[in-house]
Symmetry: D2
Subunit: 350 residues, 4 copies
């Protein structure tokens, strides 16, 4: 069975990554790609890597009728605050939707005002959307028509905390997630800060007074633990292109010995197709370099008993498990495909 798939906002990095993944997906035919800037241009005009793929497919301007006629499912890779206006229309004409923006991730409408600066116009839809993290919401994904695909940093932080969340051994009121991210996380639009001479060699905090992916992390951990959780995210730009590492620092409340700690990670992830627990050396700890191009997230931890400090790590490719890869994984579940379909490429090394 082959579904017709449209991508709205297909000229950015996440759109390109969806096209890259889906080029070999046996259950998908890409029928519709939109871009305001590149209307009429072929796909490879923007995505040079895809020269030779999608011959004849050209970018068009978004149009509800167009997308509805041509697609069964739509992926949206639009900015926050824009997606929210498209999704209801697409659902209305009967399409299934995978939204990669933040616009349907949070359950409490008031959080949109606090973190994103707009009043959410469709609060009822928030409860219908499923947060597209298969490791937590796999069953709900099977029965939804609207996936809110998680943020890249949030995915990493949540998955590294997941094994500990319900144990009570760590203090979840003081959680600091120190994020290091490659330049592709900022998107395909040039700016002063992403200008190569300025960005290469940089190690630069940004949005350091609180990154909004904290809202997703707090929501999901609260959902899992049943009690309030406080998480603060501080992102840093480093000079990789693809890749995010999150180092989430916690303080122990109770004692847990080494074996039990390791068991928590091993057991949580032993059956997950895209989470790998990295504890043995080398390289010792997760490094996003070794998941580049793949849908894996590598997780681990380090303990400093002297001061009762625990750090959990997660490494992922921000365009894959952090965006397009995860969206396809959730899409596969929603459509009844095998979860890893089209996602089985091993990462690159070196």
């Amino acid at each position: 069975m082959v579904f017709r798939v449209g991508i709205v906002g297909a000229s950015g990095y996440t759109g390109g990554e969806l096209l890259r993944i889906l080029a070999n997906h046996p259950g998908v035919e890409i029928t519709y790609v939109t871009s305001r800037e590149y209307v009429g241009k072929p796909v490879h005009y923007v995505h040079y890597n895809l020269r030779g793929y999608y011959r004849g497919l050209k970018f068009v301007e978004f149009d509800v009728n167009g997308v509805s006629r041509n697609s069964d499912v739509v992926f949206l890779t639009l900015p926050h605050g824009v997606s929210v206006n498209y999704v209801p229309k697409l659902l209305e004409v009967g399409l299934r939707v995978v939204d990669l923006s933040a616009d349907f991730r949070l359950k409490k409408p008031e959080l949109y005002e606090f973190w994103y600066g707009f009043k959410h116009p469709y609060p009822d839809l928030l409860s219908k959307a499923v947060y597209g993290l298969p490791e937590i919401h796999r069953d709900e994904l099977r029965n939804t028509g609207l996936i809110a695909s998680p943020g890249c940093n949030a995915t990493a932080v949540i998955l590294s905390l997941l094994p500990l969340a319900k144990t009570g051994v760590v203090d979840l009121s003081k959680v600091v997630a120190d994020v290091k991210a490659g330049s592709s996380e900022g998107g395909s639009k040039p700016s002063q800060g992403s200008h190569h001479p300025e960005r290469e060699g940089a190690i630069r905090p940004y949005e350091a007074e609180g990154h909004r992916h904290a809202a997703e992390v707090e929501q999901e951990l609260t959902y899992l633990t049943g009690s309030e959780v406080n998480v603060t995210l501080i992102p840093h730009a480093v000079s990789s292109v693809r890749g995010v590492l999150t180092s989430t620092h916690l303080w122990f409340k109770d004692y847990i010995d080494d074996i039990d700690l390791m068991k928590l990670f091993v057991q949580t992830y032993s059956k997950e197709p895209f989470v790998r627990f990295v504890k043995t050396s080398p390289p010792g700890y997760p490094d996003p370099k070794y998941v580049v191009g793949s849908n894996y997230v590598d997780v681990s931890y380090a303990v400093e008993r002297r001061v009762r400090r625990l750090t959990v790590f997660a490494a992922l490719d921000n365009l894959m498990k952090g965006a397009a890869g995860q969206a396809v994984q959730a899409f596969n579940i929603m459509m009844g495909f095998e979860e890893g379909l089209g996602l089985k490429y091993p990462p690159l090394k070196p």
Copy 2:
């Protein structure tokens, strides 16, 4: 039909890349991997990216009986001058061999003394080996048991010159191939020159008095044109990790107009599955960045009429079309598989 495949020298970068490609190849089961340094270690101990693949497969010490019992076909990724001693034994016990060293690439034994500093011990085998460049030797590859897989720089230079080779419009006695290569071309062994603080930001000529891939280029171009060809290669280390760009500078002997020049490239490569002709903008010219992780080689050219200069460009991923990818492409042809089997991953961008 599934063949049992062994890899001799599987802990280096090319070995790792073969493992990465073949992990999803439906006609291959990896049964045997050798490494002197890592005997007894699992594959992911060296190739961190492959954690979760090849569970249970461990490196062993090379042994003719071992490989013969366990394999139908063997890939060798050994240093020049080492491979030459293994290949005859492997052929003798009935294995088919893909050798990724230079040891069987050249037809004239005396060239080994000049370029590689050793007297070739098996000159008779040289004529039996097929130079594994499908774009020139596809038919011979169908009927061989020994493939000599080309060098990365040589592949790029040859494929960029191929459309012009037989035309007579350029002077093939004065050909300068200026090569720019990423650090993975130097292999997985640390050295002073490849130490990150020294290599990052470098633009550094090496082996600038003549790189030995010139021998392969001259051999293949002479084979195509029937007359003597002189090519000089000057490699430069730049701070990419994967990727080679060759800029091969030539002087026009005769006039050819723009349309005819373009036709030469279009026609030569219109049916080749892994050669892409890049002439329209953007990005204007080939850039290895946009073939990373794939088996493509992107080719093009630029003409400066004022001085009758032509430069032909080729960009490839040195571990893929420059090594492991090309070896699998030739292997597919030899074994009767579809030529692109296991090689259809699009490149990454960005």
Copy 3:
């Protein structure tokens, strides 16, 4: 007045940086450089950048008589645990010593066993050595013959915490310093982890169970505050060459308003020649990229009131304010020179 200066361990990165700085220092003549590996080679054989400087100066094997005859002052850039055996002999023959190892930084001998794994053979000398951080120990530096130059990460963490240390507004029992460091921090010796293909693009925790620079930070903060302080350092390798950013995360104990917080930083550093407070945009926060090649450390902070979290940042060039630059600054104070002599080069951009 010109002092004769020897450098023991002059072929490493810190030795090279001392030579680079001192090449233009009007109060210094370099008379003696040692290296076991490069005996007999000229300085530029190792430090290619210094071709044309120090003509005639060659590396010799270390020898107490040699250094004593040729020098008034000696800089030591030797590994931890090695320096400790040289320093007493150099002091004995009347030389003044600037030791860049950790061997005389800590006041409590037992900490060497815990953090460095050796019993300190000269505990009496520990109290005589001055921790070479001018911002804390300027006066003592004027009257010492033995400077223990601080570690790079420790310098950054201490200087970012200094304005807050005595205020009581933050909880100094739970301090997490998340360190991001370029590859030159690992020294000039090639290794698997620093091999360019593996290190470029990496974001990789190391020594994540507790980095020993924590001992220096705790010592100095305890010295300043008079009460016990707990700091944990978690370093990460990123793909810069030069540069360290430390993001030190704290929790507020008491309320302090924005103006008062800013005043603490402004007042602490208004007269310091090499500490710059970076609060206005752009670039918003310190980035080691913009101190490369100089002795500056840029400091700042970010507050997330919602969760009572404060992060203090410091950015420095690990070879300058993190090593050789700071050593020369302390040397200048010890010798009675103007503190910034030879150190006034502005950083590079881009």
Copy 4:
């Protein structure tokens, strides 16, 4: 004696580099800096590295009266075709001018139409301007009021060819200069091609149908040899930030032995303060990495006798000897200062 210096176009990379160099120049006081985009902002608002320098100095809009009142000498770092309109006015009011654009480099007005696409409005001024390459025009620089500072790529190509130019041993009708350049060569303005995710890891030809710095190279070599010279330049973007390497490929016409060839380079440059001949290993050949931050240009060559090929190399920092550093060197000569004043910082390593 201290001259008042203005910089027109001071917010770009070359302007910033002039400010960096001149911050420590004892014969210069910066009195006037212009920028259309940053009027009213302090210098460090743009040049973050210069925080703490030039306190109180702010960017102003260009105005002839303003600059004339405040300056004795003016540096112009404006785009080609813009400078040409400012220079005559500045000369008229009695200022001495160092122009870093191409607008006064070429002696033949018609070349501006061919290479730069505009008819030169002041052809008479072309003969008055001195091409600011001290290694060729040192004497003329002492007596001029208008310096046309050379292009970065042209400087490298000319200085590597200089030792051979008059010998007659190479064929100067077929000279290919293959240029590899870091991203800062493209200036401080963000663009798609310089966006970090696209530029990092790139090896990309541009302006490959002939780069206009060829005009300068041909002019200067013709000036030296008295006969026509044909040079073609093909630049390539690589992922360094600072640094250019030119590999200029030539064919021998006559025999010259190794000793005589080396003598040509040694003798040509033995007294030049900023040209270093790099022939011994390591690192074997020039690498711009080891001149970063300094005014040096490192030159060398490699010979492949088999095919009668010679390649000459030059490595420089495009913002220093390729732009601001060279401009200050020429300025020093014009003003009667010691030639290296303010330029004696050794390069960085690593």
